[in-house]
């Protein structure tokens, strides 16, 4: 009986959405070709075109009319003070926009990087709207926690945001989140009073320059997020398999071995250190660390350490079989998701739209170190870090790896850093771990 009801509802909804489709076909979003996405468009999410329908203004009017009493909403976003304050302003504006409705909106402090853990603990009790890093999309979708963005009401996220961000928010042809920022990737931060453009162009030059000055450079080898760049840059792959859970990885082929050997060679220098970003900031402050691979979230600390000499640049090249190869990276986006279990799903969607529209992104971009994913907003905001990210984006991949990737990849990085006689064996082990079947 229940099943029947659902079936009827489903067909009804399909009919409605088909009708809606028909109405808006001429508005089919054009995927913006800029923002260097040669790599990202190859992702399999790019194969099926993402479609979002434009809802009518009537829907909002209906919703306002149908709403009784206070609407309780919870919004989780970064715990940084600048973020929290900006979000508070945006929420106030949201309340003013829909002044006919009585809202009770709570803003919670939740780091984007661990958002999915908190959401998945008990999705029914999680926030209605939450900001998360794009690498968590896969799991959130798998757990059914995200409300699919099939219809938008105030603007079209597909047209407004860069193609990379839209791809990051989509899975198998469905958009699941509203892109917020496009600056969650990594690049090289360095002290330009000590290193020249030449020095930061390649790891070999960088290491030599650091050695000459008795200084250090490095990144977190124990974190598979960074190690990935070397292998992807040389053309190796590590990505989700067709089933969306397991990984495919070919790092143990000949190219991979060459990459690993090159890494071991780079690490053999005392000038290269494996260091987490919290320690790195302290080392930078002490003046020992003069170049480090990190992201926008650390910029303020490095600014404090290097002062006006802070400079950012795309990642250096490194030699594979004697050929200078550009290091790749993971591209990173922050997305806004609507909880599929939200009790006020309509309002939650409107709030998510509101905090990701052009003006909101401008505001966030101006008040924090982050770069907007909105094309117009991105054009109006610039900083060394964002231009470094822009240059790196041509070599950045969408982060689509399954759960078994992280620990083995981190271990591989650590092994290569400490040095090993049998690179091939280390790679074989890592690949076995990464591709191990997750039941």
């Amino acid at each position: 009986m229940k099943k029947k009801l659902v079936a009827v509802l489903l067909t009804a909804a399909m009919a409605v959405s088909l009708a809606a489709c028909g109405k808006t076909t001429e508005k089919q979003p054009e995927v913006a070709p800029e923002q260097g996405t040669e790599q990202t468009t190859e992702e399999k999410t790019g194969d099926t075109e993402v479609v979002i329908n434009q809802g009518s203004d009537d829907a909002i009017a209906n919703l306002i009319a149908a709403t009784e009493g206070t609407v309780d909403l919870t919004l989780w976003c970064s715990e940084m003070e600048s973020y929290q304050n900006t979000m508070k302003e945006l929420v106030d504006e949201f309340k003013n926009t829909y002044s006919d409705v009585d809202f009770n909106i709570t803003i919670g402090a939740q780091s984007e990087s661990t958002c999915k853990d908190e959401v998945l603990k008990d999705v029914e009790a999680a926030a209605d709207v939450f900001v998360f890093a794009d690498d968590q999309l896969n799991e959130l979708v798998q757990a059914g926690a995200l409300q699919a963005v099939t219809t938008t009401y105030t603007f079209d996220p597909l047209a407004a945001n860069g193609a990379g961000a839209v791809n990051a928010a989509s899975l198998n042809g469905t958009c699941y989140a509203y892109p917020l920022t496009a600056s969650n990737g990594y690049f090289l931060i360095y002290d330009k009073s000590l290193l020249t453009d030449e020095d930061v162009a390649s790891w070999e030059n960088l290491v030599a320059a650091c050695e000459a000055q008795g200084k250090k450079c490095g990144f977190d080898f124990g974190n598979g997020w960074y190690t990935y760049g070397f292998f992807s840059g040389a053309g190796c792959t590590a990505t989700l398999a067709e089933d969306g859970v397991n990984n495919v990885c070919d790092w143990n082929n000949e190219t991979g071995v060459a990459v690993a050997e090159s890494l071991v060679k780079i690490c053999s220098s005392d000038a290269v250190i494996s260091i987490g970003d919290a320690d790195a900031r302290a080392q930078a402050k002490d003046g020992d660390l003069i170049a480090y691979v990190d992201g926008t979230w650390s910029i303020e600390d490095f600014q404090a350490a290097y002062g006006d000499n802070l400079a950012c640049v795309k990642l250096p090249t490194f030699e594979v079989n004697g050929v200078a190869t550009q290091e790749g990276s993971f591209a990173g986006y922050k997305l806004v998701g609507v909880n599929a279990y939200s009790k006020n799903v309509g309002w939650a969607m409107l709030l998510a739209e509101f905090i990701t529209n052009e003006e909101a992104q401008m505001k966030i971009g101006a008040n924090t170190q982050e770069g907007p994913s909105n094309i117009n907003a991105a054009a109006s905001i610039s900083s060394p870090a964002l231009s470094a990210l822009g240059a790196q984006s041509a070599f950045a991949d969408l982060q689509r790896v399954g759960g078994n990737y992280w620990t083995p990849a981190g271990t591989l990085g650590q092994t290569l850093y400490t040095g090993t006689d049998d690179v091939k064996a280390a790679l074989d082990d890592a690949v076995a771990g990464i591709t191990a079947a997750a039941e």
């Binding site: 959405s17 809802g55 320690d279």
Partner: protein
């Protein structure tokens, strides 16, 4: 075993006798539980028992029964939702939640079992009263019943509340988690959006067999060995260290006893997670200890001698060295606690025993071995076992100290373990940090930890609990 069967047999035989030989009131209480008491004038007790029965029936019928009936499949209706873009609202079917079915199913069954025990006991009690009446003996009124609860039956009063707490917060969760070990509950089967179901012994086989592509068995053996080594060393070092320190401070020649004690106790005053995080930062690769060692040139010396291959001493990142560091840091953490316990107990040694030994001409060592140590062991023996178990499950120390450790053992990494993990931190990582969230594997590991601990204790503790030793010092 035989005795147990006999006891169970007698239990039901008594029930049979009560039912068959009971008069009309006893038989009535088969349906309305309080009748057996009301019929003999114990009205309040009778009403209370009947009220209990009513609550039970209502709870089971309305709340737990729907869950119990779905226990065999753990639910069949998957969540389906339809979003209507025109009204901006959502229709959701009435879906099953495997987790809640399992939890409330277990709870419901537990309550039914408990009720049956009460029910049978109630009939027997009604029959007992009938016998008392028949033999012309005194039957307690309600006030007398209450008075008994602070006297001969005081233990019931004492144990009632703690037991309820334990049943809800310990036993029920344990049964639940044991059940999880036989399901496929993980990230791909995660309520409320998706269902999970029973898979039998499959997960235990995964842990114990080196199936292709799975390194759980390998990781399990490695982690288990380190867990046992750690537990033994951590317990013994802090125990002995604590007693020695306590004796040192309690020595008659030691001045300012209070001050010394306080100095060590200060380390307890700061929460463990603060001190442990702090120490892990101090000993980090780029922490202050390495900073100072570098400045005084020791790091260069060590490099020269070939003891280390990095520009720092890898206190917390090198297998082996980290293991030693963890034990040392745990001594730092644990000795003040043990010192406190030992002080309290040393002060309570019956002084007449010490006195008579001294009069008999025993020297200090004889007194220590013949009186102090046996007394210490008698009192702290059980605590030694508990602290061994506590160390097997010592989550804080390992978790907080080894956050930065990255294993170089690829097989361990594939199973989400590290060389320095205990079973307990490993299973925590499986459920919280691993993206696959294989709750069932965590549960299997938990059960194994439990079996190890239970066996160890039963062997050692039953020796202590047995015999008349309990009364020796009373």
């Amino acid at each position: 075993m035989k005795r147990l069967l006999k006891a169970i047999g007698k239990y039901f035989a008594d029930f049979g006798t009560a039912v068959s030989k009971g008069d009309i009131w006893v038989k009535l209480s088969l349906i309305i539980m309080g009748m057996g008491y009301i019929g003999r004038g114990q009205v309040i007790k009778g009403l209370l028992v009947t009220a209990l029965e009513a609550v039970f029936v209502l709870f089971t019928k309305n709340i737990s029964w729907p869950y119990i009936t779905k226990l065999n499949t753990l639910g069949t209706v998957q969540r389906e939702e339809v979003f209507d873009p025109i009204t901006m609202t959502k229709t959701v079917n009435e879906y099953d939640n495997s987790l809640l079915i399992l939890l409330f199913g277990v709870l419901g069954i537990a309550i039914i079992v408990a009720f049956l025990l009460v029910y049978i006991g109630n009939i027997k009690s009604a029959y007992r009263i009938q016998e008392l009446k028949k033999n012309g003996k005194h039957v307690n009124n309600f006030a007398e019943d209450l008075r008994e609860l602070v006297n001969d039956k005081f233990h019931i009063t004492l144990l009632a509340l703690p037991s309820i707490g334990v049943i809800f917060m310990c036993i029920l969760p344990i049964i639940f988690m044991v059940c999880i070990a036989f399901t496929n509950y993980d990230a791909a089967h995660q309520p409320p959006s998706t269902l999970f179901t029973w898979v039998g012994w499959k997960n235990f086989i995964t842990l114990f067999s080196n199936k292709q592509g799975s390194t759980f068995a390998y990781a399990f053996v490695k982690v288990l060995i380190w867990t046992l080594i750690w537990a033994a060393l951590a317990t013994v070092t802090t125990y002995i260290g604590g007693i020695l320190l306590a004796m040192l401070i309690n020595h008659q020649d030691t001045k300012l006893k209070k001050m010394w004690r306080s100095l060590f106790v200060v380390t307890i005053a700061i929460p463990q997670f603060v001190t442990l995080l702090l120490i892990s930062k101090m000993f980090g690769n780029y922490g202050i200890v390495n900073g100072i060692l570098t400045r005084i040139g020791l790091v260069d010396k060590l490099l020269e001698w070939g003891w280390i291959s990095t520009s720092y001493v890898p206190f917390m990142t090198h297998s082996g060295l980290t293991h030693v560091m963890i034990i040392l840091i745990n001594i730092w953490v644990g000795i003040p606690y043990q010192m406190l316990i030992a002080t309290g107990i040393l002060m309570n040694i019956p002084s007449d025993q010490l006195e008579s030994a001294r009069i008999d001409g025993a020297n200090k060592f004889q007194i220590f071995w013949k009186i102090t140590m046996p007394y210490m062991l008698f009192i702290t023996g059980p605590s030694l076992v508990t602290s061994f178990i506590g160390n097997i499950n010592n989550f804080n120390v390992i978790y907080l100290l080894t956050g930065d450790y990255v294993t170089t053992d690829a097989s361990l990494a594939a199973a989400n373990a590290k060389d320095v993990d205990l079973l307990i931190t490993w299973l925590f990582k499986i459920t919280s940090e691993s993206q696959l969230k294989q709750y069932y594997m965590a549960s299997v590991i938990g059960i194994v930890v439990f079996i190890i601990c239970a066996t160890l204790t039963l062997v050692t503790y039953s020796r202590m609990i047995k015999g008349d030793k309990e009364e020796v010092f009373q």
